[in-house]
Amino acid sequence: MAGLIQFHRLGLSFPGAERPVIQGLDLSVAAGEFVAIIGTSGVGKSTLLRVVARLLLPTEGTADVPPVGDGRRLPVAMVFQDARLLPWRSARANVLFGMERLSLPRREAEQRADSLLDRVGLSAHASKWPRQLSGGQRQRVAIARALGVEPDVLLMDEPFGALDAMTREGLQDELAQLHRRDGRTVLFVTHDIEEAIYLADRVVLLEGAPASVGLDIEISIARPRRREDSALQDLAAQIRARLRTPA
């Protein structure tokens, strides 16, 4: 079955760089899958997400990614590590920002924004400025903004990396619930191996310079998962060992 996202011998070089960031990368992601991408810093995880978002174009191979939207929705939406809320807009107006390029009636967009803020538990904070929100709340607004465009694919670039452990675990649980409910395809970049195994259907390890897929593991641990589950911990230890001694 053809994947929703398919990379074949994908390569990407930046102008003037000595060597490509990515080379010969093959990967297929099916609709509804939650795929976590892990790897060392600078290996090319975020670059790969930007290819899916069409923010970067491959220089080699092919990248079949969802087409540009039809006006009522965007096929791909992105959540960044630093939330990237527009500081001059309220939380609600930030959620609306994603929808403004869609041909949605204003009223419908506002209802969608209110409903999403309710879903991420921020109805009471809708009129606050980003500076008045905590890191976790800002990241929730960023997730609501991404969901507002009703994407087929949600790209998440270390979205919880800058948060404290408690907030991070809370948001991981909320994301797991959202994914169970919506069945949306998620590509999730993280440094945290436990987080990857806890959330994902598959964990893909990028390694090498230039990067390619070093490991692609199906996570068969039943849901809902527990962080202290021994199977999860064992798998994390195996991946960590592999990271220390790459093939």
């Binding site: 939406a77 992105m78 990237r84 527009l86 920002f97 390029r101 400025w129 500076r131 903004r145």
Partner: protein, 256 residues
Amino acid sequence: MTVIPVSVTGGLPWRPVLGLALFLALWEAVSGSGIVPSSLLPPPSAIPGTFWREVMDGFWLPAVGHSLFHYLIGLVIGTVGGVALGVAMGMSRGLEDGLSWVVRVLRPIPGLAWVPFAILWFGVSPAAAVFIIAIGVFWINLFATAAAVRAVDPDLLELADAFGRRGTMPKLLPVILPAAAPGILSGIRTGLGQAWMAVVAAELFGVPGIGQRMTQAASLIATDIVMVCMLSIAALYGAMDSLFLAIQKRVLRWQG
């Protein structure tokens, strides 16, 4: 522990008031002591009376009216032109490169140096004064705006790309201008002050206004009238600046 009150909440801040009072007292003392003839430095106590005479004799209000007219028109033209070209230069590296030498040649020329051309092109008329004021304000806004636009966080531009605002123009209103607003508004505020300096300079060559009234008074050694004109400019600038600060605070309320 000793607590030093900085100001009384809800009352006048005492330190600035004290500073002003000391300044006026020193001025009055120097002027009254005879060290400096009062014809060269009129005492502050003479200023209210002179001001009242200027108003009642029908000099003050028309002069201020003319100057305000020159000021506002020149300010608007210079600001709109400077901000518009500054945005375009900030967004387009090609345009910035293309204009860089032109800007380098024209920028150091002071507004007053344009007086001969202003007279040749517009005559001794309000248009000449407006031209000189607009030139001075234009450069300030051009550089402040171009710098503010260039400094827009690239992460926000990438965010806009990710949400379907590809290219520069779709980002202009929702991202670039609001992100650059603090820098643009700082430039406009600097221009507000610069424009008053240009008003006086522009009117010194005979265009009706406060500058012209100052020249007339100075030629008659009526320094008290000169002082009234100077303080009128200071008061008008203070009022403009306070009004602008209130607007700026409202526009940038998201900064907290």
